[in-house]
């Protein structure tokens, strides 16, 4: 990213032609470039899945609409969710992990740079495979169809008899392949954090982002793999005549549900824990105070990681499990709210008494805190099995998880992009455009997802392509769709900000936010080797020690 033009008294060495640059990007093993590739890839798919969401909302804007056929509608919600989870959120979050972890721990690269590149390309090509289904899949309805079985792909809908053609196989294979890439990155992150920290950086002095990525990577190892196993079983059923989920041979489709949700629930914690990491890095800097309760934050995250493995069947309350099972999963789901609540208190404790700076990253962080809290509360409501019996598969659940995923994950991603954009590109973003983005997105988000709880409580089921008028859902759906359009405009403002700032933004120095972790000690963007000499640290905030040698943190830790 740094200029390739060197002027040497009279001579000028030309910039490399674009083909050279393209080849360097395609063959890179540098964690920073791979991080940027992941983020750019994820943002592109975020926009594509956003278009799919807008199509869904246009169809649902009024009853008996016929903007898209029911078959296309099914493909839209399947592709929207599959894309958002696997090819938008995960790549962006892994991109940030890739970019930041080595820099924050004082290393020159990840532990296995080539594995890093391999994992990226596996995930990237998996995503392209999924979208190839639009032209390559063949289903009951003629040539070219994307998967339409929902992102959970429940058995026996996915059996050969009920999903002929290849659309389900595109879902299975693309997610399977990118799952292997994800596990590779998980291994890489753990090896990097455990084996490549700079001298003096004990685990107790690591930035919280590194700690939380360590927990997330551990969860990846044991949560993604059950999905891979289940998908192999599905392929055996579909192509080798197996009977894993075949009720006619004595098999149990509910087994797919168990296996899927053993993956699916930890997966959403894999998505949110890096977002917690962003909060833990950004909020202290814009409160001008160190994070409140570092050890408890670590302990709470580890607890969340463990407990999240034991809550999965709260997605299955309506399946007819015994009351013992329902009670157990109600209990564990409520318990997981405790460490999460502790973290929210600690972020608030960080802000309390600090000198708050309401820059754009901080605005998104405050939105996150408020929204994730509400999402957690509706989650506790749903955790109650009896309440879940009423509201399962209704728009209340859709509202709840979009509150966590958009109000939580997407807001945190925006905060992280605004915060680390200067480091990655050497340019500051426009505060004005950033604030327009924030307020428009906030208004659109709340218009859509606050209101969405009510059709759910009034009985509107999920995944329906249209509905009867006069049930009290009409005005809600209309306003929800308006909110979606407002969010779309906000995202366009965001993209414009990123593009314009790249060319016209103010130059950023090493440390535009006056922060304290090691990535801010190198130039923006960092040199390929990260650090001229590997640093030695003596506290959790090495740059604070550097800037305030008369009052270093190392005296108090």
């Amino acid at each position: 990213m740094s200029s390739n033009v060197i002027t040497v008294s009279g001579m000028q060495i030309e910039e490399r032609p674009w083909l050279d640059a393209l080849q360097r990007w395609l063959t890179t093993v540098d964690h920073k470039r791979l991080g940027i590739l992941y983020i750019a890839y994820g943002l592109s798919f975020l926009l594509v899945a956003g278009v799919e969401a807008v199509i869904i909302r246009i169809q649902l804007m009024r009853p008996h609409n016929n903007f898209v056929s029911p078959q296309v509608f099914n493909r839209m919600f399947t592709m929207h969710s599959t894309t958002m989870v696997f090819f938008a959120a995960m790549p962006i979050l892994f991109g940030f992990s890739n970019y930041l972890v080595p820099l924050m721990i004082g290393a020159r690269d990840m532990a296995f740079p080539r594995l890093n590149a391999f994992s990226f390309w596996l995930s990237a090509l998996g995503g392209l495979l999924l979208y190839f289904s639009f032209i390559g899949g063949s289903g009951l309805y003629g040539a070219g169809s994307a998967p339409d079985v929902g992102w959970w792909a429940y058995a026996p809908l996915t059996a050969r008899a009920f999903s002929p053609g290849h659309s389900t196989d595109y879902w299975t294979l693309s997610v399977l392949v990118s799952g292997f890439g994800t596990v590779g990155t998980g291994i890489n992150i753990i090896a990097t954090i455990l084996c490549m920290r700079c001298p003096g950086m004990t685990l107790n002095r690591m930035p919280l982002l590194a700690w939380l990525n360590l927990v997330m990577a551990g969860m990846v190892l044991i949560a993604i793999t059950p999905l891979s196993a289940a998908q192999i079983m599905l392929l055996v059923d579909r192509y080798l005549g197996g009977h894993f989920f075949d009720a006619q041979a004595g098999g149990a489709p509910v087994l797919w549900m168990h296996f899927f949700w053993i993956f699916g629930h930890p997966e959403v914690y894999i998505l949110i824990i890096p977002c917690f990491a962003f909060m833990s890095e950004i909020i202290p800097v814009f409160s001008r105070k160190p994070i409140f309760g570092y050890p408890v934050m670590v302990a709470a995250t580890v607890c969340i990681g463990f407990i999240s493995m034991s809550v999965w069947a709260h997605h299955m309350f309506t399946v007819g499990m015994s009351s013992y099972a329902n009670s157990f999963f109600t209990f564990t789901t409520m318990v997981i709210g405790v460490p999460t609540g502790i973290k929210i208190f600690n972020w608030l404790g960080t802000m309390w008494g600090g000198r708050l700076q309401f820059k754009v990253p901080m605005l998104f962080c405050i939105g996150f805190l408020f929204q994730f809290l509400i999402a957690g509360l509706t989650g506790i409501m749903l955790a109650c099995a009896a309440f879940g019996w009423q509201l399962s598969l209704s728009y209340f659940v859709v509202a709840h998880f979009h509150y966590t995923l958009v109000g939580g994950v997407v807001f945190a991603i925006f905060a992280a992009i605004y915060y680390w954009y200067p480091k990655m590109t050497g340019r500051m973003t426009s505060e004005r455009l950033g604030k327009w983005h924030f307020w428009l997105f906030l208004i659109g988000f709340h218009l859509t997802f606050d209101l969405m709880h009510f059709p759910g409580m009034l009985g509107m089921p999920r995944r329906i392509y249209t509905y009867e008028p006069g049930r009290g859902w009409d005005m809600f759906n209309f306003l929800i769709s308006i909110g979606a359009f407002i969010q779309a405009i906000a995202v366009l403002v965001f993209v414009a900000n990123l593009v314009i700032s790249y060319f016209k933004g103010d130059k950023a120095g090493n440390d535009p936010w006056d922060a304290w972790t090691l990535e801010w000690s190198v130039s923006s963007p960092p040199p390929e080797y990260n650090f001229a000499s590997i640093p030695t640290v003596a506290s959790r905030r090495p740059l604070w020690d550097l800037k305030h040698p008369e009052d270093p943190d190392s005296r108090y830790e």
Partner: protein, 198 residues
């Protein structure tokens, strides 16, 4: 960055972190264990639930000899790795090739068993629940054995070309961790399929 004073001059000297190859292989083993756990759970869930067709008791013969082969190969690979650390390349190569032979023998035994099951007993992956879960679980394990043998073969070829010495001892140790994992999985699969499941 060199402006940060080093407050702990001893820290750099005694700063030792775990080995990344071993940590990475441990992580891979953890992830693969999760995959195998799911297949074992499916197997146990479906024990006795087949509606028709051959049952385990009818057709399974306990593969004691081939199991001993595989478990011995864990011993030989362990000894081979230790010999390489002491730069005894000749003895290492002998034990390494013995490991390969024992592993190959195990795969041959699996193939023989499957041949009998398919052609004599009429049990395939699509026959019934037992067939599906048995071939998936044992097949997944055999696949991992095959991959391990392939890696062992690559090392063997390099060793025969004289390119493996004490400098590669660490990599050989990491590979042997994988092989031990494959063995431990067989112990679990053996217990579940041939002991508990019958």
């Amino acid at each position: 960055m060199s402006a940060i004073a080093n407050p702990f001059p001893q820290a750099s000297a005694s700063w030792r972190l775990p080995d990344r190859g071993k940590i990475a292989m441990s992580c891979l083993i953890l992830a693969e264990s999760a995959i195998f756990t799911i297949f074992v759970v499916a197997y146990l869930f479906y024990v006795g639930k087949s509606l028709s067709g051959p049952t385990p008791r009818d057709v399974l013969e306990t593969p004691i000899f081939y199991t001993i082969c595989l478990l011995s190969s864990s011993l030989t690979i362990h000894l081979a790795a230790k010999l390489l650390v002491r730069d005894k390349v000749g003895s290492f190569l002998f034990l390494w090739l013995l490991t390969f032979a024992l592993g190959g023998l195990f795969l041959y035994g699996t193939g023989k068993e499957w041949h009998k099951l398919i052609y004599v007993d009429g049990l395939t992956i699509s026959t019934n629940l037992f067939g599906t879960t048995y071939y998936s679980l044992v097949g997944l394990h055999a696949f991992h054995v095959t991959v391990g043998l392939f890696m062992i073969l690559i090392v063997a070829i390099c060793a025969l070309a004289g390119r493996v010495g004490v400098e590669q001892a660490h990599r050989v140790e990491v590979l042997s961790m994988y092989w031990h994992f494959v063995d431990v999985v067989w112990v679990v699969v053996f217990t579940v399929v041939y002991v508990v499941g019958r």
